[in-house]
Amino acid sequence: MKFLAARRRSPLAAVAMLLIALIGIGAGYAVIANARPAEAAAVASSETQVEQGKRLYLEGCSSCHGMQSQGTSQGPTLVGVGAASVDFQVSSGRMPMAMPGAQAVARDPAQYTDEQIAAMAAYVASLAPGPAIPTEEDVNFENADAAQGGVLFRTNCSQCHQAAGQGGALTQGKYAPSLMQVEPKEIYEAMITGPQSMPVFSNATIPTKDKQAIIKYIDTLQTLPDPGGLALGRLGPVPETVFLWTAVFAALIGVAIWIGIKAR
């Protein structure tokens, strides 16, 4: 103790105490925060999936979507949005929303486990009929035609998501996200539920077969090599301009200056 006693009046003592306190609180919070899902899972075993979903909904969603899912000034009603919508929004990490903004931002990892998401989806689906979560068969794009999917993609998707699926800006800070990391199920759900600013592409507009073709085309874009070399984000002329006026002109003018210097 002599070691500490001798240093308690050091100017660094206060800083050290503060650090220890902050680390302690942070570690404690992490332990408590991680303990919650386990606790929830333990309770879940003694209730039905819909009941569990309702409980999770009341805990995590009702402050914005209302106690009866009727919607509030903070969030839309969830009556009739269907299981697919819940699955899309929650498993992509968009919901629960961290803070109000131009639009919900995808987060990785999702805030709930798969089981909890399924429960909430079941609860919302029990309120009114809506699009169901697509089956494995729905999203199986093995036999789809990528070229046809490309035509459909450019007709229906590229005006917001850009022809290469890199995403695009919408009004007032909203945006169509990049499709380079999305899963087939996510794409399918987005099409049938129309999240955020996206329109709904129901099976009457784009039949399942065509949806599979679009998914196949997006999958093609995700894995497409760049035969021309460095792709510059596949964002078209703007990054090309930046590259031209920085790297290329630095090189050319650098050589010009070098030739000029050599003459002296």
């Binding site: 131009a102 035609d145 990528a146 070229a147 046809q148 490309g150 035509v151 450019r154 007709t155 590229s158 005006q159 998501h161 850009q162 022809a163 290469a164 890199q166 995403g167 695009g168 800006a169 919408l170 009004t171 007032q172 800070g173 945006y175 169509a176 085309y217 093609t220 874009l221 497409l224 760049d226 035969p227 021309g228 070399g229 460095l230 792709a231 510059l232 596949r234 964002l235 078209g236 002329p237 703007v238 990054p239 090309e240 301009t241 590259f243 031209l244 006026w245 790297a247 290329v248 002109f249 050319l252 003018i253 050589v255 010009a256 200056i257 030739i259 000029g260 210097i261 003459a263 002296r264």
Partner: protein
């Protein structure tokens, strides 16, 4: 005849043989020794010329495989994600060039990159000519030819961008047609005439092809020839420097120095283009897909040189009015027709406007340093900032997406900034130039600040100023001071009203705006006195040169440069040095 080497014998033999038939020796003797001045910025035009040569070479290759036809075909090439899709033959043949012609993608990318570099180098070259006043008499016509070349470059670039008939080029053409249609009275007729009917029609690509590969390159070649011939006969301008006057050209002869330099630089430019053509994707048309009028992609942008026009379109508020039952689309007509019209007209006429304002009728072969023409430099930077803001407007969606901003905020920022920023840039640039002029004058009078702080024996600190070297002296004194025009009298001696008084008054005022704040060079007497002063500083410093060995400095001694055995007071020093400080 004295003994000569075999090389000289053969070379001389060939020269004589050719000379006897075409009379070339006299011409070569006169021209191969032609002297060119040296400065890196004089090579910007060369970059443009060389990249144009690359464009011509690669373009010729592409014509062998490109089919400028709107005939619909089913794609059956090796790019799988488009297999079996209906597309125009133009697009299909561009895909074939990219995927099925050996080296096709490399040459297509080189062609596109070289085209971007061509227009960029022309623009930078134009900035250099503008900011150094190289457009002044007698080079006004060459300036206009330069402006025509840039305009042709834009036409060449845009027509090339539109040929592959991919989603981007079709979108660009749709906008171009919209711009045509916004021109009152003739717009609609013009669009129908050029496109042979409704958009996109089946004729436009083949028409554009003739423009792209024949008409515009032919005009560019002709203009480049005249441009270079004028440079040749008028001789190149030079920056002020030792021995350089308005009546001579100081530099190196064409042969061998410039042949080697220019030839070498050609291969460097070619090499850079080949390198990026092979390593960096440009315009991946296979990703954009074939153009269909019902399709469009987010982030559809033109190439960089049209970006500012796209930015003007994107920034303009949505104003329309109806006149005699016809809609006038100010929202398109103003940003896409009127603004570029004003900009290119002002650009072409600038040498004449400046000459009129300043009343400067002299020939200029010595360049202005940008600081010595503060108003011109200010105007240039003002125009550049306007251009750059429009450029940002052209990429507003990509900027919004990349930096998580609101596209509406960017647009509103630009709507205000386009009117606020350029004037600020003008004032700031002009003040910086005037400040640099004062600094030049100060350097002439008091020498440059050597960075050596001396403490004199009686405790005073001084910074040692040293006279500037001969080269810098020549650079600074190489400027010509031009007096602003005097205000004209309203009436002459007999009381007769001065004709065009108001025009002359305006001109005198503008001339005053141009020149009145310029800092004049000091007179010879002032410089003499200043040099004397600097020499005095140097004399004070002289005895302390012994301290140059840093190890010897006794730093504990109050930080004063001091050393045992050296004089500590002026009196002591005077005694040591026999009465000289």
């Amino acid at each position: 005849m004295t003994a000569t080497s075999p090389v000289e014998q053969v070379g001389g033999g060939v020269a004589t043989y050719v000379d006897q038939r075409v009379g070339s020796n006299k011409f070569l003797a006169r021209n191969l020794g032609k002297v060119f001045p040296d400065h890196w910025s004089f090579m910007l035009g060369e970059i443009a010329l060389y990249s144009f040569i690359v464009v011509l070479l690669t373009g010729t290759f592409l014509t062998l495989f490109f089919k400028p036809s709107m005939v619909e075909v089913l794609y059956d090439g090796s790019y799988v994600p488009l297999k079996g899709i209906k597309m125009s033959q133009a697009y299909a043949s561009t895909l074939d060039i990219s995927f099925d012609v050996r080296g096709g993608l490399l040459l297509r990318q080189m062609h596109h990159w070289a085209a971007l570099i061509f227009i960029a180098a022309m623009s930078v070259h134009m900035f250099r000519v503008f900011f150094t006043g190289a457009f002044r008499k007698p080079r006004e016509f060459n300036w206009i030819i330069g402006v025509v070349l840039v305009t042709l470059g834009l036409g060449a670039g845009f027509s090339g961008y539109s040929l592959p008939d991919d989603l981007l080029s079709g979108t660009g053409l749709q906008i171009a047609r919209g711009i045509m249609q916004s021109i009152p009275v003739i717009g609609t007729w013009m669009a129908f005439l050029l496109f042979d009917g409704e958009f996109p029609g089946t004729e436009f690509i083949s028409r554009l092809y003739a423009v792209h590969i024949l008409l515009i390159p032919g005009l560019i070649l002709a203009m480049v020839t005249i441009h270079l011939m004028l440079v040749w006969t008028q001789k190149h301008t030079q920056f002020p420097g030792p021995g350089r006057t308005n009546d001579n050209v100081v530099g190196y002869p064409l042969l061998p120095v410039y042949m080697a330099k220019a030839g070498g630089f050609f291969f460097v430019v070619f090499g850079v283009i080949a390198l990026i053509g092979g390593l960096v994707t440009i315009n991946p048309i296979w990703i954009f897909g074939p153009f269909m009028p019902d399709q469009v992609s987010a982030g559809s942008q033109p190439d960089w040189y049209i970006g500012w026009l796209d930015g003007a379109l994107r920034t303009m508020p949505n104003w329309e009015s109806t006149l005699f039952g016809f809609t006038i689309s100010w929202n398109i007509f103003v940003p896409a027709v009127i603004i570029p019209g004003i900009i290119f007209t002002a650009l072409a006429l600038y040498p004449f406007l400046e000459a009129w304002v300043t009343g400067d009728k002299k020939e200029h072969h010595l360049l202005d340093r940008p600081r010595n023409a503060p108003t011109r430099t200010g105007i240039g930077v003002m125009a550049l900032s306007f251009y750059l803001l429009l450029w940002i407007g052209g990429g507003n969606d990509i900027i919004a997406l990349t930096f998580g901003m609101s596209i509406n905020s960017i647009t509103w920022f630009l709507r205000i900034a386009l009117f606020v920023v350029p004037p600020i840039m003008f004032v700031v640039t002009r003040r910086i130039c005037l400040g640099l002029q004062r600094r030049d004058r100060d350097k002439l009078l008091h020498g440059y600040e050597s960075g050596r702080i001396l403490r004199l024996p009686h405790g005073e600190f001084i910074e040692v100023h040293q006279p500037i070297n001969a080269k810098e002296l020549a650079v600074i004194t190489g400027k010509t001071d031009i007096a602003p025009l005097a205000l004209p009298p309203a009436t002459d001696a007999d009381g007769v009203r001065n004709k065009h008084f108001h025009v002359k008054k305006l001109r005198a005022k503008l001339s005053g705006f141009f020149y009145s704040e310029n800092v004049a060079l000091p007179t010879a007497a002032e410089i003499e006195e200043g040099q004397h002063h600097a020499a005095h500083d140097a004399a004070i410093e002289a005895p302390l040169h012994a301290y140059e060995d840093a190890d010897q400095i006794n730093r504990a001694h109050g930080g004063v440069l001091h050393h045992p055995g050296m004089p500590e007071t002026n009196a002591e020093q005077l005694a040591n040095d026999g009465g000289h400080l």
